[in-house]
Amino acid sequence: MTRMPRFAARHFIAFPIGALVALVWANTQPETYYVFARAWSFPVNDLGMVVFFALVTADIVDAAAPSGALHTWRRMALPIVAAVGGMMGATFAYFAYLRTGDELSVLSRGWPVASAVDLIVGYVLVRAIFRRHAAIPFFLLLGVAADVCGAVVVELLYPVADQHLAGVALIAGGVGIAVALRRAVVTSFWPYVLIAGGFSWWGFFLSGLHPAFALVPIIPFLVAHGQSGSTISHDQGLSRFDRVWSVPSQVGLLLFGLVNAGVMFKDVGTATKAVAIAALAGKPLGMLAAVGVAIACGLHMPRGVGRRELVVVALASSTACSFGLFLATAAMAPGPALAETKAGALVTVGGALLALTTARALRIGRFSPNPAAKRTRHDSARRAVSPRSLAGV
């Protein structure tokens, strides 16, 4: 397994455990839960999640390298089109549902939540359905694209605090330090994380952007520095970073689930339904429609991925859970609207059930009655996907 699948497999259990404990706690002892969640919100969401997004960024940069799954635009094109289509479908469905009532004004900020794709839950799901198949990298690429789009939109439209220009200067300073470290062929990642990352974090904080993304502009320099003739290789640089931060990241995701997933069942409301409908119906439909248009325009489906596989991948991507929760807390202020929206992100876990049921009904992947067909697809997928690629499993 390469880094992204390993990452997903390792972290799969951390978030659900945290989320489950949070749900039970919030619905049995809400007062103590919310005191805890409030006290831990800043260290977990603004500090702890820095590690998680740094690892995700490292994977994206890795995949964009030569032989990576994102290396050429042709490989990227169809998943990105699918991600954009899913985002448009989810957004349309979200607002269409809200327009049937009178809470549009208060809940309008929740639309990016439905566009999010839970890479961890989704990866484990498509892996369980397809085992080894070209549909897996396709899912991961569209998931990454959707989440990057969502994060950018939230950062641009809904800054979390007043904006100060000094913040932009600090971010630029952090990037400058990372460039200088790379030129000096500094082999340890600690100066990148602590010095350049420290500047960047403070800059994000001051500029009103979410500080959890502080290492996103720094990591590319860390990852690339192995290629510039240093004593450590590209893989070694990534692996060392991954190895050191793996356990803290798992702890971070556990705490993230614990701090953010605790919603009371009575908080289910209009935004919950809007997010659920948008994610479970609008997003897959938008995705399928966009892919249909793209194919009509001349793009090609990955080898081994047919219509049935595409439907299952689209449904698997409807699960927003963890990243949906993150976008919710990033886009909305605390209060009832946020609680309703977070409940919606959690409800989208139903997308996993939809995907499994559909895969079974369509008889694909592990539900295929023809083992030879499975093996053929498996082999063709192995040929189509580089072992170094994002999901060359």
Binding site: P30, L104, S105, L107, T270, P334, G335, A337
Partner: protein, 283 residues
């Protein structure tokens, strides 16, 4: 008719509420501040009009000068026509008599309604104003962001008024079955309210009337039934002091010096709860 007026419990022992009050009695103090409180009113249906009619009738003997609106001021469409049907028409006699309305925003209100002149919000989601010896703090509980939290902290800290009254849409304490208490909001807001000595908090959202027993020194009222009512939705608990969930209702309040008198009145004019709070005898 099954009327639930939940027992007026343990109030005497707290030394705060001193028995029930005759309906709509006006104190002799000329400087007393009188106001009405309505929540979740903006339906535009006949029940809202009947409550408004009752308010007009009550004002003959209880001349309140302003009305606090606890959110969900306009349900459904929010066009100019809706503002006429759901606000201006039912309360026209009050508006023409110079009664001023001070609104807070609920989840069914368009955020841009803060620019609607008769709501007297001056374009702000949260604001403060003072009348006589009372300062009111109006919050937007839909989005309790850092900026608002900082604002209410500073505004309360700077207030030297004898009475501090806070109101917003979502209740920090409620035994309404549909929504209940907004515990996450309470964890953030209550420490600020208690630190700076807020006396009374009004909220809506649950379509019932409920008076809570004092919580950490603050008197909480839920009055969210001036338009819709959820009959039988109140689930009285140990924290309930009084409640009414069988008909629409609104509140009348008089603050005269250190005395805060309140009444909850039903759509049909029945007084369903009343009492007096004395400044300085905090529980």
């Amino acid at each position: 008719m099954r009327i639930i007026v939940v027992a007026l419990v343990a109030i005497g022992s707290a030394g705060v509420l001193r028995g029930s009050h005759p309906a709509a009695q006006v104190s002799a103090m000329p400087e007393a501040l009188r106001f009405a409180v309505i929540g979740d009113n903006g339906t535009g249906d006949r029940f809202e009009y009947e409550v408004a009619h009752q308010m007009v009738a009550v004002r003959e003997r209880f001349p309140f000068e302003m009305v606090l609106m606890l959110g969900d001021n306009i349900y459904g469409g929010q066009t100019p026509k809706d503002f006429v049907q759901k606000f201006e028409a039912p309360y026209r006699p009050l508006l023409e008599a110079g009664v001023r309305f001070y609104a807070s925003l609920g989840n069914h209100d368009n955020q841009s309604n803060r620019f609607y002149k008769p709501f007297n919000m001056d374009g702000e989601r949260y604001y403060t104003f003072a009348k006589r010896n009372v300062r009111f703090f109006v919050l937007d509980s839909d989005y309790f962001d850092d900026r608002q939290r900082s604002w209410i902290n500073d505004a309360l800290r700077g207030s030297r008024d004898e009475w501090k009254i806070c109101y917003f849409h979502h209740p920090l304490y409620s035994n309404g079955g549909r929504h209940g208490a907004q515990v996450d909001l309470r964890v953030m807001l209550e420490p600020i309210l208690t630190r700076y000595g807020v006396d009374v908090v009004f909220s809506g959202h649950d379509h019932v009337y409920e008076r809570l027993k004092p919580q950490r020194g603050i008197h909480y009222f839920v009055s969210g039934a001036a338009g819709q009512v959820r009959k039988g939705n109140l689930r009285p608990s140990d924290s309930t002091a009084a409640g009414f969930d069988q008909d629409q209702s609104f509140m009348l309040v008089e603050v005269a010096g250190g005395t805060f008198s309140f009444q909850a009145i039903s759509r049909t004019g029945q007084t369903v709860d009343s009492g007096v709070l004395q400044k300085g005898s905090r529980p």
